[in-house]
């Protein structure tokens, strides 16, 4: 039973355009959400996060939107660059017992075409 779902295994975007990666979750106890970026043969690196008390968080070219009622979040990358090509994981944490555990989606492989 997957609690964090990334339904698009892959996404191709032209350089300079917007990349939108989507994530859905089912556990209403989650209240902190993170995006990690992973290059081959490297560990995931933290990209951006959002608390459930917010609906938007922005950091440079990266913006994460959270829709709590729909249990949906998305990562926007504008403008997309070839170096953004990687696998992006959505992850979630709760605030109760086990709040240190990250629950990950399966990932979306982003390819930015020059």
């Amino acid at each position: 039973d997957q609690q964090v779902k990334q339904n698009s295994p892959s996404l191709s975007v032209q350089e300079g355009r917007i990349s939108i990666l989507n994530c859905d979750y089912t556990n209403s106890m989650f209240d902190y959400f993170l995006w990690y970026k992973k290059y081959p043969a490297e560990g995931p690196t933290f990209l951006i996060s959002i608390s459930s008390i917010k609906d938007k968080n922005e950091d440079g070219r990266f913006t994460v939107f959270l829709n709590k009622s729909a249990k949906h979040l998305s990562l926007h990358i504008v403008p997309s660059q070839p170096g953004d090509s990687a696998v992006y994981f959505c992850a979630a944490k709760g605030s109760g017992a086990g709040s240190y555990q990250l629950t990950f989606g399966k990932g979306t492989k982003l390819s930015v075409i020059p």
Partner: protein, 116 residues
């Protein structure tokens, strides 16, 4: 500053053998986590240490898996009687502390385990 390091980067073993995977967390980080990433999946939680003790080992798949962190720094994940289904990338992460929701976990590059 050094990040999380893991050794070996690759490990090939035969079914039934014993393996040890090592993790060196970021200096000063008291919390340490092990995750396992199977092909086509996201990382899945295995075990969490706060200091020397395993605070939560609920993610370990069975009693063939065991992890230690005797001095509150380096951790070793031990797998007995390996099976082909154990083949995966084993990721270690550390954070300054685990006591708040917003602690960022820093991941190592992982150890790719292949059981033949």
């Amino acid at each position: 500053g050094a990040g999380v390091s893991q050794t070996p980067s690759n490990k090939v073993t035969e079914k039934g053998k014993y393996v040890e995977l090592r993790c060196d967390p970021i200096s000063g980080h008291t919390a340490l986590y092990w995750y396992r990433q199977s092909l086509g999946q996201g990382p899945e939680f295995l075990i969490y240490f706060q200091g020397t003790g395993a605070a939560d080992d609920s993610g370990l798949p069975n009693d063939r898996f065991f992890a230690v962190r005797p001095e509150g720094s380096v951790s070793t994940l031990k797998i007995q009687r390996t099976e082909r289904g154990d083949s995966a990338v084993y990721l270690c992460a550390s954070s300054l502390t685990a006591s708040t929701l917003y602690n960022e976990q820093f991941f190592g590059p992982g150890t790719r385990l292949t059981v033949l």
